[in-house]
Symmetry: C2
Subunit: 301 residues, 2 copies
């Protein structure tokens, strides 16, 4: 039997994925492979990855026209960088009815909620379920996509009081079908937590590599850098457009996180400057204990 029984609540009829990169491509692969969705189609502003997606069997078809792409779709997944996602959500909500569930995969939620509201005459649409799979890597694009990208990874959904329970359930089941663990957070909570654990570290890694690349001894520096440096800067190899958009899309929380970090760095700098070994030892010991506990919980170093 090529497709699971459509009478089951678990199975989706037609899903549209907008943006066929690492996340969109991986979701398409997973939905096709598991049979959780009968038909997966794509849309983008250019056809390069879409053509490739059809050739590879990642999607069943595509349209470059948004109206055409949206026809008969049960769930729309916006999987573009954040700034395009904002525009796309505004456009979608002028086009779809309440029966089409709209979700996304971006690393920021507040500015997308705002964009959807703008597309909906100021109201939060009940068929909107913003979501964020915490998966990915510094590699990107359809070539890096994989049907098991989400297995055992978290997906955070951020429903609001306006969200229709049936819409939430549909998106929740879609992600469960990929092997992900689904959790819920408030929009503001999501954006604050992601600013701290993801957006800030990316900014720090970019700032460090940028600073070293501009230093006089740049060549020597990179010649003598070792394993710790490689791990520490890995995320500076991430996609610049994606991260520019995230920084712009989660501006307030990111600024707050940068300022909090800068204050702690300054405190540590003062300890170095005054030769206060005791203060340093206390900070390092506390940080190590926290990091060790985190690593132990995650079951890895």
């Amino acid at each position: 039997m090529p497709f699971p029984d459509k009478t089951s609540d678990n199975v989706l009829d037609k899903v549209l994925i907008i943006g066929l990169g690492l996340i969109g491509g991986s979701l398409a692969r997973s939905l096709k492979q598991s049979g959780h969705c009968r038909e997966v189609v794509g849309h983008s502003y250019r056809d390069y990855s879409l053509k490739k997606g059809v050739e590879l069997g990642v999607i069943d078809g595509y349209s470059l026209d948004l109206d055409e792409a949206l026809a008969g779709v049960e769930v729309v997944v916006v999987a573009t960088p954040v700034l395009i996602a904002q525009d796309t959500l505004r456009n979608i909500f002028t086009r779809v009815g309440p029966d089409t569930v709209v979700t996304d995969v971006a690393s920021v939620k507040g500015s997308l909620l705002q964009a959807a509201r703008e597309g909906c005459g100021g109201e939060v649409p009940p068929n909107l379920v913003l979501g964020h799979p915490i998966a990915g890597s510094e590699r990107n694009g359809l070539d890096a996509s994989s049907a098991d990208l989400f297995v055992d990874h978290r997906v955070i959904l951020t429903p609001t009081v306006e969200t229709a329970p049936a819409a939430l359930e549909k998106v929740r089941r879609m992600w469960l079908s990929t092997g992900a663990r689904v959790q819920e957070l408030a929009v503001a909570e999501h954006d604050a937590i992601l600013a701290a654990t993801s957006h800030l570290p990316h900014v720090l890694a970019y700032a460090l590599v940028d600073a070293l690349a501009h230093s006089e001894a740049s060549q020597d520096i990179f010649n003598f850098a070792a394993g710790g440096f490689r791990d520490f800067t890995r995320i500076a190899s991430s996609d610049p457009v994606m991260w520019r958009d995230i920084a712009l899309g989660n501006r307030e929380e990111l600024l707050r996180a940068i300022d909090m970090f800068a204050a702690h760095l300054q405190r540590l700098r003062n300890a170095v400057d005054t030769g206060d070994g005791e203060a340093m030892h206390k900070i390092f010991t506390h940080a190590k204990a926290t990091r060790d506990a985190f690593a132990a919980k995650k079951g890895s170093d």
Copy 2:
């Protein structure tokens, strides 16, 4: 034949390793295993790891008395944290003659050169060859030591104009016997490069984990942190005493590196604050290109 022919210039008669942790223990194991040294003995201010070292066959014997430990030794390797290494170098040079070669393994060189000079009545001792194997991990102690820790890793030696060529050659060959690649840098150059590539990233990782641990949402933050965060903060699991000592021992260069970083972070913060996507994109793109080139050269991501 249990030991290589002592007539060969390559073979050392007796090496004393002071401090039997990850680096000291790994060097002892390697020298014993390769037969590059006939006898490896240990010294420390307490006997815990020394006893264990003898039991495990990592060293042939030890003494808690420095004078006794130094008797008949051809090469002394100071492998303690930096502050103890400073004291130890001062002490050693009041005790050894010009035929005993003295080296170390610390991540800072300027402050150790100064300490050795102090022990030598203000002169730089010709039998001093400061060295730094760029190997290690956030694990530490004799238990984590291994005879192949240095294979294909860099060891930087920092001879001065006063250094005796024969002393330099002895230390160089010792490290070559471990499978390391040996290079030379000036003391000041070493300290500036290591501040940028190693000491600064450690300080940033410690400061980040410290900042997050102090934030109100600390529990949620660590619950939702993912792979990028794990890599980025791995070095915050390093030994606090070792890193306190390095920060104190390379104070000037570390402060310079922190300030350089803070200026670049501020620049990036301003771009976020003013919504200057173009500036951000430029910084991220430049950083990614630099990081990608570094990773490609190192043959890993």
